[in-house]
Assembly symmetry: D4
Homo-oligomer: 256 residues x 8
């Protein structure tokens, strides 16, 4: 998105002493920012990080989201938003008829018209039915990253044969997201069966001494399985993003 | 241990108005306390609670412990102490030649001469080798309660077939103590396989976000297995005591 | 519930090299799972753990609960659910006319038609009137386990003679559930009077530095009474379940 | 200790405009401060607060303590220090031969030569033998306040008849200090028996989820007994001070 | 309230062997309990503790409170309840026309017809206007204990001369309640000026790192003023109760 | 605001022995307090602290705020209030037509008629759009202190070139307020670029392990940039106040 | 490592009814466990998880470690141990002369004789010099996984140009480990520059409100960079393991 | 320190297409980093931030510190190090004879030969004698920044007239550092008297519920005084640095 002519011009100003080094760098950077008033969009994100910027809808006005969506859309970005309320979605679905809202995962996406091939395999596993909203956020995010996603529900630790029955699906994945609340033991158990990273997503499901997901978070951080890594409580987005990123990079190797 | 003649005498004083109700009760109670200066021993404990008083050695002077041991011993109690340092033990082994010190579990016991039959089955399971000191405290305590104790070591969650291989031993128990640090997931997994209570003992084994056993404690309190109940961090004594108590009561039924 | 013919067939496939060991085990396991879409029911639970699976209603849709109830009911299970809202109950009472909702304890049960004899004695003690909802959850659960349940209310520590007056009832129990908020001292006091396990259930009753039940939880974990073991804050279900399990096992011995 | 002539002189300077109001007040204040270099002693404390300043020895050099002692002593103060190490005490006992060190409570006192009558009754109760150092600090402090002190040891909650037996001593007190670690339930039980304030002193005795006395502290703050008030963990000094202050004020009324 | 004839009769049964010591004590105790179904009232509280039982209204049904009020009232108790909602109060004011509800402090009282003389001086000081509800609960409680109460509002630490201006009122008190949120520094400042106990009541006033009153609670527990003792967050009742108890006992001495 | 005649009169009373030193000081102080019933206004604040007292509206009745505003206004104070709800503002805007409410920052101000020159430069930087309410509170406060305020939005750490582009604006400031939630890394990054103090304001923006702003608060306290200092979570007021105070003092030097 | 003949024999016993399904599975599992007394080695780990079991040396006796090393070594495993003290290492270096101890990272490795090609690129970045021990543990672990490892030291957030200068090295990695204490902001800053996963390892470096690494841990969990995932405090091993696993899987794709 | 010729050369390479923009910026940055192996020194810090880089000695080897000192010294930097142990200092004093170690504050400084005029006034106030080490670190740091520093010791809140007596010194400061442990109330009290920023430094002085300085930290964050801002626990360095920075900037204005 950077205009090479503009950069040449700036470099000449630098050489001629009309621009300090700091100013030169600053100006170059400006060309990859879209200022929409309430937010400064990072249009260079996709080049640097592999995926474009995602919109965190919670706490933003619908008007601001609409402006951000329009700016991203006009730059050819596969627009994706998380933590969107049904009220916000109702307005935005009217404005962007191609957009789809997932009411369980609370995500919104305006897919690009051209279909891209999926890039790698992500498995998403939930410990219990109540973890579904976080798992859905992870699933939508992983799909947005281009991954081929399988979801396996309700395989809690206390029913050990349920995990067993789903092992073939799990072992085929390039990255696994395990979503669990309460004591958060499932990632350790899954981790002991597979040869790919397990992204553990603690959820705030539980009560009392779960302390809003703290018990699950600490359990996962202390996992005895070496391949378990952890993201924030209820961070379905991050779980899906990192799993999708790993799957994409592994698959990229395969397709070279 | 209460002297019935003394109680009759007190009751007469009460009736005659020489004793208030409060004083009457107080005096009756006094007859079951042995005052050794530093401590007031509860000689009535065995009748009320099934087992006699146990000595918590940490922070007590060797002289005090010796006096307490002598007082308990003279009342025919199966003396048992926990959290005893090697230094304390060295002195006490000289004074009580029948006593045995377990340097791993840090317990000391002066067994009664007459052998009693064991009363029920307790299984003690550890997640890792580092949990051994707490498991040994639990084992010594359960043996002191009269239980038939089996110990199964190093069956961490990340190696699922290790637990499987030991299931027959585990399923035969009347009560199970599971000792685990780090994420503390083992009790949930064990709990899903058995039909007796699982006493979960979190340990301070781990580092960083284990926060001295807090992670394991919270994990166990939030266990998705319904038969898991929890005691304090590193409380091998309590785990062994409660498992021994359950095993004794279950076995008592069987032998009726 | 496992079909022996199917297992024979699978074993033959294994022997003939058509199935790997992993696949063989997986398939065997599948036969004891009922997949109802939102959940995978563990039909083998009763054989392994002594009691069938219980439904945690909170956060589940009424439709999902109805499917789970129907599946369990059709397999001859004594259906029991906890944390059910009055709104959920209203719908389910219409669908399952034999079901009974306890609006204080928020439990729902569809009892089996054949009456079974009660199996052991459970006492449930509350510290204060505000602890009643948790105590009711414990009571309904213990009844569901088949126990003969006695409830003793409002015997807080600051009124010492109230506990005294109820001692005979308490001493007769095979297992005791003590439900208390605020400082959670009651289990220690009860524990000092009895020779059976005390399952302490901290409640979130209190304010300020009770920190949602944390004070009671920590107090109970640090109880100076050796027979006190602890479950999660507000976990009336777990308290009732473990007490019922102990009572059942003790009584099973007696009836052998 | 304020010199009235100096105050008159200052007031005149104020009136004549040579001193601002702020300066006037500042100068008046200075006359009641003794600057010993490392510390500024509050010689007016006794008039304002009922008792003179106490020295917190921990972290101070012996030289600094010696200077402070000498300054206080020369102003006729009944010198009292807490948290003094045996090493500090060894030096100071040589310098102040009238001083007495209590090695359990770690206090040091240089009593005034004239004996004062004791002023009120303070009872100090400990839950266990390990709480003794904190209780001794409280006892020495209460004696320094002039109180008539009774100590009752090792009356933990799990042995209910031990408290009963000591009730007459307890009921006679003007203020009670209860020193307890672990779950800290004793103050509630004591509080339910008496008609005077109970100053609860949590101790760091315990392990695991006692979290250095936090469990006891929270338990005491949530006490269901209305007359229980709390000081810092291990704050034997504060417990003894406040109990002594109450006893002094109650006794002052009696002697009017 | 205990019937001496009944106690004589019980003592005779004890002597004749018709009653065990335990049963005897239990029966005696029963005579001082009023069972109203939901609660067991402690009618002996006033004799033991100086004041009768107080009703904690939060979480109780209006029907239960009404029964408790009626039972207490019929035994001649000065009925007092805390944490009562306006909805509860509306019903109870209709049932007990002599009762008075304080909507700020959320207390309800049915004063006894005969006026008693006030017994001692309590000062209640608030740091800020937002602390008023807690201070009002303390004030109503202290009045119920019979104290002569003075309230001084809004004397926060950052305005030092405001405290100065009110010192004469403060110095005259037998006990002082200081109610403060945020950093909770006011009790230390007040404590440095007076010779009576300061009961510090932390409030949940504040935001962010006040963590619901934790900052104020910790600050008060660590107060450098020796005469500061602490109760639970927002525990206006306890602050007023203990201050009233001290004032009563000090005044009782004066009037002897 | 102190009346010198009154002070002279008081000093004479002091000299003549009609006033104690304490009373003298108390009376002098009283002259700078405005008592409006619910609150005691500190009219001397501006002289001592550089700015007059600010009203914290949350939890105060509109009537009380109105009285306080009127009292301050009549003493010529530039009235400023924070944490005001839209409901409170609606009433007060009617009463004080010169007042202006900022609905995002929830502040209310009644500016003085005479325009003062701005005094120094304050830059306010936000990490994300959701931090805007806290940033607006800071901005309004800094304007009230008389500062020349620049706001730079949405320059989160993950988009490094966005900060770069705004460096010239940032480097010109006398003090910088950085408002950030989640991990709170922005102040460190800003701090590494500038030679003035950075006031870091953590916000409660985030979820899960942000624990209501705790993560941001701890991050900022541990900042590796030496010029970063921290205020309470969501304390936009304090951030703006201190930045404004620094800017005023720096500018005062410049204008001397 | 499973012996197929033994499995056939077991399957026949199963088919003939001499073995239950449970027993069959248990026996099969046993063949992949090496019992060395103190530990049960998981010889099947490499097949399931991609890498063999690693030895956590802390808290194990040198004798136990020696036995474990010998058992693993005899099965052709690339032996690797972490958290080994210099004292342990001194003994083991004598026993296993091919082994190498890293005294900074506290790791010990007995490399296999045959050199394998490195498989993918891992970059390890430290925020400060004090983070080196954790970074060295990560580096040794990543090397053991077969990765090509680059280490970049001391690029803290407050010196922004230091990261800039190392960007080309960082962008080339398949996975990045960022090791940081204090506020833990570096992973977010790195994450904003790259298109691969960033494994954030918080360290306990810092003091005060770093609370042993909690501040860094929370900061990293709340990172605004989507590609940042987190492991336990000081868990250099886990950081290196997961980065190595990702690099291996990505490289495996490339080499297909 | 940047060489302008080198930058010109780089800019030409950029213009001619031999360098990418990223590479260009990277190379420019490199010229201001001194790589000493263990650390990458930020030689540009002084230009950007007003003061050069400071060495955190804790956890660094003496050899590394010596190299860093030599590198900084050779660039004309006023070398300053904090958290240095006496053992480290003994070696470094031998190597750098101009260096001075402060054993209380644990700082080390090699002052530049040319004396610079002091730039502004900093007052450092301690609550108690035990806070001295932190205060000394602050004092040495502020002196290093060029400030004119006054220290006022032992003016705790409970002795209100001690602060009064020192007010003139305090009011003259451009910035004030208040160092306090325990409840941390002193900054609020100081803040209410002055018109400059108060940098509050909580210390870990205290015991029990001070939780290593947490109580003081929270108290200071919740200060009711608007001009109080906070740094990390025991962060004397940061307190002195920020106060020195403010004083320098205020004085710079004055001298313009």
């Amino acid at each position: 998105m950077n205009n090479p002519h503009e950069i040449d011009r700036l470099a000449r100003l630098l050489l001629d002493g009309h621009l300090s080094v700091e100013d030169f760098t600053g100006r170059v950077c400006e060309t990859s920012i879209a200022d929409v008033g309430e937010a400064q969009l990072d249009l260079d994100r996709s080049r640097r990080c592999g995926f474009p910027e995602v919109v965190f809808a919670q706490g933003k006005s619908v008007e601001a989201i609409e402006k951000i969506f329009a700016a991203l859309h006009s730059h050819g970005v596969d627009v994706f938003a998380t933590r969107m309320s049904p009220e916000q979605a109702a307005v935005l679905e009217a404005k962007f008829p191609d957009g789809k809202y997932n009411p369980v995962g609370r995500t919104f996406r305006i897919p690009l018209p051209d279909s891209r091939p999926t890039t790698g395999k992500v498995a998403i596993i939930t410990a219990g039915t109540s973890d579904l909203p976080v798992a859905e956020e992870a699933r939508e995010t992983a799909i947005w990253t281009g991954a081929d996603v399988t979801t396996i529900q309700d395989v809690g630790v206390a029913g050990p044969h349920r995990l067993k029955a789903n092992l073939p699906l799990i072992e085929a994945a390039d990255a696994i997201v395990v979503v669990a609340g309460m004591e958060g033991a499932l990632p350790s158990v899954v981790g002991g069966h597979v040869a790919c990273p397990v992204i553990a997503v603690p959820t705030s499901v539980g009560y009392g001494a779960s302390f809003g997901g703290l018990a699950a978070l600490l359990g996962m951080l202390n996992s005895c399985a070496s391949n378990v890594t952890v993201v924030n409580i209820d961070a379905g987005f991050k779980g899906g993003y990192i799993a999708g990123l790993i799957a994409k990079n592994v698959a990229a190797g395969r397709s070279e």
